[in-house]
């Protein structure tokens, strides 16, 4: 298996507070990796370091090495990093005043793509990949992204992230605000998407982690306590702290 993301001795800070204490992990390409752990353990901070979102906070900085496809993301412009690494958040955040079409095309336009045919193709491909094309194809330019249901908005945001052909898609609790049907659609989508790209998903829902991810990492107080195949983590974890957390004995 090929490594998509190589993280070496990654530390993240908020001001003087060290939030991640030297994370080392190799994330397999074209697989889904789940990141679990209690609130405040550093899991969101960790994935925000993978596309340099962490440093958008003026108080925050990161130290260490993160390589995506072999290239050190801290040695390239942040804009290029975010083209390689898309991100989807807990709460769907479509651009409210833009049409569905423009929401998906926004990233490409920012990157300088102006050709109408190229944009049309990318929008359709992305919406199809995000499994929402059939639901919106007739209202692409008539309806705004904000007019869709919560589950549709989240898939629209996934389509927007896919439009620039990322190598890695980061998902920060992408289904936590959705109903079970919309959650199932997102999970089906993850299964389809990971055939072609690498997914790192933060989730509080351990059943979701076990359903969608081949690998799982357990974070606790800024440390990566355990990283292994998902079935190992959820049936027979090596570390007592992992077991205490996933069985609810933690705390």
């Amino acid at each position: 298996m090929a490594t998509a993301v190589e993280v070496r001795d990654l530390k993240a800070y908020f001001g003087k507070t060290e939030a991640l204490h030297g994370i080392n992990i190799s994330i397999e390409a074209t697989h889904a990796t789940a990141v679990i752990g209690p609130s405040g353990c550093g899991k969101s901070t960790f994935i925000r370091c993978l596309n340099r979102m962490h440093e958008t906070n003026p108080e925050a900085r990161a130290q260490g090495e993160v390589k995506i496809g072999g290239a050190d993301i801290y040695s390239m412009p942040a804009v290029d990093v975010r083209r390689k690494v898309g991100m989807v958040f807990q709460k769907p955040n479509p651009f409210p005043s833009m049409s569905i079409y423009d929401n998906v095309a926004a990233g490409l336009k920012l990157n300088g793509t102006r050709n109408r045919h190229t944009l049309d193709e990318a929008v359709e491909r992305s919406l199809q990949q995000a499994a929402i094309w059939d639901e919106v194809k007739d209202v692409l330019k008539k309806k705004s992204g904000a007019s869709l249901s919560g589950g549709q908005q989240q898939r629209l945001c996934i389509a927007r992230a896919l439009a620039v052909n990322p190598e890695v898609l980061l998902m920060d609790e992408p289904a936590s605000a959705l109903d079970p049907i919309s959650t199932a659609k997102i999970e089906d989508l993850i299964f389809e998407l990971k055939q072609k790209l690498t997914i790192v998903i933060v989730t509080h829902n351990m059943q979701q982690a076990s359903r969608v991810a081949e690998f799982t990492g357990f974070f606790l107080m800024g440390h990566l306590v355990e990283f292994d195949r998902t079935e190992k983590i959820f049936t027979n974890p090596s570390d007592k702290r992992t077991e205490d957390y996933i069985t609810g004995r933690f705390g």
Partner: protein, 225 residues
């Protein structure tokens, strides 16, 4: 500690399977006692108690399945519930073996008593010790004790083979005792099966506590490690 209610329910599940284990153990004790004393009343008690064991098996299964569905257990809790479901089936089969022994005893009591070349009470004593140890290993999560149970099974197999050889020879030498010898052979076989169920229980305890699958001589752990 979180999920307090769930962990109370796991305790309740353990309590229920141990209650059932007590019934299965008692059934074997009564059946062996019935053999030693040629006592039809004890045989009737074993038969009468079987429905209680069957009912307990269903109740434990239902409770365990409810926990799986409602609580989505993980890791050691998941392994515990899976182990209980399997132990439950083994205990029910122990109850069945006791019934088989009682039925053989009922058959033997109707015929003249013969001095047979097999010490069923001694074999039963070893088998009951295995069952007791298997259950104690479950109560205490003691994998060392569980391993001793696995080792003891070889001895029971050896006793069973010796009983087979001795009773076969007896049948050939004294055809008059063939029917009684066949009954004793079946009883020895039933006891050997009880020991197999104790072995299964011990394997389930190791699976629960260590996540290791040691069935059929395998030493590897689950989840590919």
């Amino acid at each position: 500690m979180t999920r307090i209610r769930f962990h109370q329910e796991l305790d309740e599940l353990k309590h229920r399977i141990l209650a059932m284990a007590g019934m299965a153990e008692q059934a074997v004790d009564l059946a062996v006692q019935a053999y030693s004393q040629r006592d039809l009343n004890l045989c009737e008690r074993v038969l009468a108690n079987e429905s209680g064991i069957n009912r307990a098996e269903r109740e434990v299964d239902e409770f365990a399945i409810d926990l799986l569905a409602m609580q989505q257990p993980m890791a050691i809790d998941l392994r515990f519930i899976l182990a209980v479901i399997k132990i439950n089936a083994d205990l029910e089969r122990v109850g069945d073996q006791a019934v088989n022994i009682a039925q053989r005893v009922m058959h033997m009591v109707g015929m003249p008593a013969f001095e047979l070349p097999v010490d069923i009470p001694a074999m039963a004593s070893r088998v009951r010790a295995m069952v007791r140890d298997a259950l104690r290993s479950f109560i205490e999560g003691d994998t060392e004790l569980a391993k001793h149970v696995l080792e003891a099974d070889d001895e029971i197999d050896r006793i069973n083979h010796e009983a087979f050889a001795a009773l076969s020879a007896c049948m050939q030498a004294k055809p008059d005792c063939a029917v009684q010898a066949l009954d004793a052979l079946s009883i020895a076989r039933n006891l050997e099966r009880v020991a197999d169920h104790a072995t299964n229980i011990a394997e389930d305890v190791i699976f629960w506590v260590r996540g290791a699958d040691v069935r059929h001589g395998a030493g590897q752990t689950i989840a590919g490690t």
